[in-house]
C-alpha cells in the first residue's frame, strides 16, 4: 500500500502539473479538494483519466469520483481493490 501511495502521489503531481510539489509535500490523509491541495473540477476530470489509463478503472462521471478522490490514501485503497492493470 505504501508503494502504491508513493506512486500515486508522483502520478498526481505529474498529471495535475503540481510542479512545485514533491511527494513529501502531500499528506496522504489530507483532503484533495476544496481544502488541502485545493484541486478543482478540471483536476477531478483528469484524475478520472488517470484511473483508467494507469489502473484500468472506468468512472462514468465526476460524482462517482467525489468519494474516491477524498484523499490519496482513499484513492489508493480503491485502486488496490478495483484495478485491472
Amino acid at each position: 500500500m505504501e508503494a502504491l501511495i508513493l506512486e500515486l502521489k508522483k502520478e498526481i503531481i505529474e498529471v495535475l502539473n503540481l510542479e512545485e510539489l514533491t511527494p513529501e509535500d502531500i499528506n496522504e490523509d489530507a483532503p484533495l479538494f476544496v481544502e488541502g491541495l485545493g484541486l478543482d473540477s478540471i483536476d477531478a476530470l483528469e484524475l478520472i483519466v488517470l484511473m483508467e489509463k494507469n489502473y484500468g478503472i472506468k468512472l462514468n462521471n465526476a460524482a462517482e469520483g467525489r468519494d474516491i478522490f477524498k484523499s490519496v490514501r482513499i484513492m489508493a485503497e480503491y485502486i488496490a481493490k478495483n484495478r485491472t492493470k
Partner: protein
C-alpha cells in the same frame, strides 16, 4: 460611440442557415416551428470510440450543393470551408451586393475551423498551412473575389455574438457598408472527445433549464447574416431585424466552469440594455446548453437584471450547441420567429427548475412585442449579450 452613430441603423439584409435541419433559413425555421429536432444518435461518429447525440450537416447534400456553386475554382475545399462558403453564397444570392467591393467585409466566427486536419489520417490531404484559420478565411474571401482580409473572431462560444458586435461597430463608423457575418464550425473526433472528457455531453436530447438536465449536445452548422447600414433619412423596409446594441464581459473566475454568480453575463446584459424599455422585450434567447451549471448561472444573471418574467427559450434542443455558429444561427431563428410573431419552444425542456425561477417557453406562443435579447457564454469566462428588434 459618437452621437451620430445612433442615426445609422444596422439591419439584417439577408441570412442563411446550413444545418441538420436544412440548407435555407426557411427550411430550418419551418422544422423548428413544427417541433422537429435535428439531433440524432450516432454510433462512433468521426471515428470517436463512443456514441453521441449530435446534430450533423448532411455530407452528400453539402457536397452536391457546393459542387453546383463551385464552378470556377479548382481548389479542394474542406467541410468547414464548403459549409461557410455555401452559406454566405446563399445569403448573398438574395441581395444585389457587389461582393467584390472594398466596402464589403467578411467577418468569420469559428472556434476550431479545420482542426480535424491535425489528425495524421486527415493531414495528408491538404497543405500544412490549412490548419490556420486565416488560411481558410483567405479561401472564403477569394471564392467571392472580395479584396479585404476577413476579420476572424475566435472567442470560444461567444464568437457568433462577438462577430455581430464587430459588424455593428464597423458599420456605424462607416468603415464598411456591408458586413457578411459567417458563423461556422464542423464537428470532429477532436471536438467530441474533448467535450466528452469534460463529462459534459448528454447521451439523450438535451433538456435546457429542466430539473433533470444533464449535459449538452454538440452540433455543427454554418450561418450567415449580411448586415447593412442605413442612414436615418432613408426609409427602412418593414419585416427587418435591426441590430441595436451588444456587449461582452468576463467573469474573471474560472477558465472553463461557468461563474457561480453569473457576474460577467449580468454585466454584459446590463451594458446592452442601457436606454432600453424592458417592456419591449418579447424574448430572451438564452445560451441554454442544458449543463447543470450553465443554466443556473444564466438564471442568476437574468434575474439580477430584473428580466425573470420575460419569456426565455433555448434552441439547443433542436440544433445542439453549434459553437462558433451558435450566436449567428440562433439570432437568425429568433428574429425570423419574431417577424412571425412567434416565440419558439425550448425543445427538450419539460419541468424547468433553475436556482432563480425563469419563464421558460415550453410551447410555441405568440408575441407582438418588438425586441429580443440573445445571450451567449463561453470558455475563458466570456459572456455576450446582443439586442435586436423587428421593424
Amino acid at each position: 460611440m459618437e452621437k451620430n452613430a445612433w442615426f445609422i441603423m444596422i439591419y439584417q439584409w439577408s441570412n442563411n442557415i446550413i444545418s441538420s435541419l436544412g440548407f435555407t433559413t426557411e427550411e430550418n425555421y419551418t422544422a423548428v416551428k413544427q417541433g422537429n429536432t435535428g439531433l440524432k444518435y450516432y454510433k462512433n461518429p468521426f471515428d470517436f470510440p463512443e456514441d453521441a447525440m449530435l446534430s450533423l450537416i448532411d455530407d452528400e447534400h453539402l457536397n452536391n450543393a457546393f459542387s453546383s456553386i463551385n464552378t470556377k475554382q479548382k481548389t479542394a475545399y474542406t467541410r468547414f470551408e464548403k459549409a461557410a462558403i455555401l452559406s454566405a453564397y446563399k445569403a448573398l444570392e438574395k441581395t444585389n451586393i457587389d461582393v467584390k467591393s472594398k466596402k464589403v467585409v467578411f467577418i468569420l466566427s469559428t472556434t476550431k475551423g479545420n482542426v480535424e486536419l491535425l489528425d495524421k489520417k486527415e493531414s495528408e490531404l491538404y497543405e500544412a498551412e490549412r490548419v490556420y484559420l486565416w488560411r481558410s478565411a483567405q479561401l472564403i474571401t477569394s471564392f467571392f473575389d472580395n479584396p479585404n482580409e476577413a476579420i476572424i473572431v475566435s472567442n470560444a462560444c461567444i464568437s457568433g455574438a462577438a462577430a455581430q458586435i464587430t459588424a455593428l461597430r464597423l458599420l456605424q463608423q462607416k468603415i464598411y457598408d456591408f458586413a457578411i457575418v459567417i458563423g461556422a464550425d464542423v464537428l470532429s473526433k477532436f471536438i467530441i472527445s474533448g467535450f466528452q472528457s469534460f463529462k459534459s455531453l448528454s447521451v439523450d436530447i438535451c433538456k435546457p433549464f429542466d430539473k433533470n438536465r444533464c449535459g449538452l449536445n454538440l452540433g455543427e452548422a454554418a450561418a450567415t447574416i449580411i448586415y447593412s447600414s442605413i442612414e436615418n433619412n432613408r426609409p427602412l423596409l418593414s419585416n427587418n431585424i435591426v441590430l441595436l446594441n451588444g456587449a461582452i464581459a468576463n467573469d474573471a473566475n474560472h477558465i472553463s466552469g461557468p461563474s457561480r454568480t453569473g457576474d460577467g453575463l449580468s454585466i454584459a446584459i446590463e451594458k446592452t440594455l442601457q436606454n432600453t424599455n424592458i417592456q419591449d422585450i418579447a424574448l430572451i434567447n438564452a445560451h441554454g446548453t442544458a449543463t447543470p451549471y450553465n443554466d443556473d448561472m444564466e438564471s442568476m444573471a437574468i434575474t439580477a437584471n430584473q428580466l425573470e418574467n420575460i419569456p426565455i427559450n433555448s434552441l439547443k434542443g433542436f440544433l445542439g450547441h453549434t459553437l462558433g455558429a451558435a450566436g449567428v444561427l440562433e439570432t437568425i431563428l429568433s428574429g425570423v420567429a419574431l417577424l412571425d410573431n412567434m416565440l419558439l419552444k425550448s425543445n427538450g425542456s419539460e419541468n424547468p427548475k433553475t436556482i432563480c425561477p425563469l419563464n421558460i417557453v415550453l410551447n410555441n406562443q405568440n408575441s407582438f412585442k418588438t425586441h429580443f435579447l440573445k445571450l451567449l457564454s463561453g470558455f475563458g469566462g466570456c459572456n455576450a449579450a446582443i439586442l435586436l428588434k423587428k421593424t
